[in-house]
Symmetry: C2
Amino acid sequence: MIHTPYLLFLGDAPDQLAAKVAQGIRDWRPENAVGQFRMEGCKADVGLTDMTLAEAKAAGAKTLVIGVANRGGMISQAWKKVLIQALEEGFDLASGLHNLLRNEPDLVAVAEATGRTLHDVRVPTVVYPIANGKKRSGKRLLAVGTDCSVGKMYTALAIDHSMREAGMKSSFRATGQTGILITGEGVPLDAVIADFMAGSVEWLTPDNEDDHWDIIEGQGSIFHVSYSGVTMALIHGGQPDALILSHEPTRTHMRGLPDYGMPTLEAVRDTALALAQVANPSCQVVGISINTQHMSEDEAMTYMAEVEERMGLPTVDPFRQGADRLVEALKAL
Amino acid sequence: MIHTPYLLFLGDAPDQLAAKVAQGIRDWRPENAVGQFRMEGCKADVGLTDMTLAEAKAAGAKTLVIGVANRGGMISQAWKKVLIQALEEGFDLASGLHNLLRNEPDLVAVAEATGRTLHDVRVPTVVYPIANGKKRSGKRLLAVGTDCSVGKMYTALAIDHSMREAGMKSSFRATGQTGILITGEGVPLDAVIADFMAGSVEWLTPDNEDDHWDIIEGQGSIFHVSYSGVTMALIHGGQPDALILSHEPTRTHMRGLPDYGMPTLEAVRDTALALAQVANPSCQVVGISINTQHMSEDEAMTYMAEVEERMGLPTVDPFRQGADRLVEALKAL
């Protein structure tokens, strides 16, 4: 568990997109960030107050979160001066980069000397159990996609947000690097050892109040041959009561797999639901989220109306429209 | 890759069942074992010549394989004397036990001093790629089960054996500890990191001659909520041309999951085939293997005739009948 609130490190981000982790924290857990730290030449701005390390410390920040991705996931020497100073001023560091903080000898040495913690959220720190499949109390929702990167995390965060706004009990359960940094906790599922994947999802979504919803971040796709095993573990370990189908309509083939066409929403519905009902026979598909970022407003609305008619399920783009209609469908379960 | 031939270490096995790894090597790769080593009080015998370390060395043995399982997977002190002497006499050691050879400081020290290798086949030693889903040349078969431990490895080894007897080109591809020790190579799939599972199966079953068959050892079950992610990675990473369904008819619930009933063969056929056709649209289900060890001969024959009639697929118990009928079905593909 990463101590909040954060100071968001944007470094020398070459553009706004490079700061998407920081933007995610800003969008979904603004209460977790006191400000942003930008180096000279930084081209990103997530709209928080620019702060020095000392100002952020005075504002209560406990962890400097690397909210920016470099080419190749590197921890550049240009950053090191700031990171080391942050440790010395009493910040923990947290990163989801491919290259680990713990593999940088200077950071390790200073963290040890100052008693601070280096959080590499790509690496599991828990010994997860093997899944036992026992029915858990509370409710769970999982977003399943036609493909990777079609908006499953965004959908889950938007549903969690709408639920809280509506006074419902909800926890977003992160299963990837960005989600873990946003909420400060979760399971880096793609780095878990095969035998413990489903168990790690059970661990992440334990018994809860009967009217509490875990909104579980999806990963991969049951139709994506590189990552389908991870998706499968989420479907069985998550024991969902409800599935949301997520789709990006302009994609012409599976991400990273040029020879693989996209599955239909019907195929994902039928396959994922049948598998989910092994672990939870009462699971239902309750709605559809469409990522329409590459469509005009008109195109998007026409497309979603058509999908809603065809599938008989509430269909929204949570980014354009919010997730309230999906939450209404969940309430009706 | 473990150097063959082996001397099979049966230690102080309390009964025959404890030596099932050694028995598997003896049954399926007799050319890989020059003899067996039994300590005083050993209650197992796999029917090989009893040899001292020196006799085995003279007979050409290169690796002492721990062919026996202890309660808790321990490497007992009683064994250590033999293991250390084996290292000193020039044997490598190989083990599939839960407790690792590499975590025993005395074994590590002697292996280093003598220049020998400790093989813990539970632990991956390869950096596997992420699966790319590209169509590979050659043919592949995968056994998929209604449950864990229903005879998938036995079925795969029996098919591989029948194919070789028939002069066909075949490689058994091990995905678990016992299979790896039997053949001297493979992927310990349950210990692979989630993101690389399917890639490790692609690595294990590379491009091959058009008339060559990889017979891939199955793991888990798509209906077993603890391990279904591993099964999924085999179905997509293995890109099978043919599936065999494996079943144990007397089981009343999923192994280790008392609240989960067994799926029907029809459910496994339909679910696994649809998922396999994502990676290989021409995949077919070609036959059924039944583990009838808990049935009388009459019961077994009646049951299998009924399944064959119902499913319209050749149905055999490879242990009672061999796998020739399954191989005939593969030839007809």
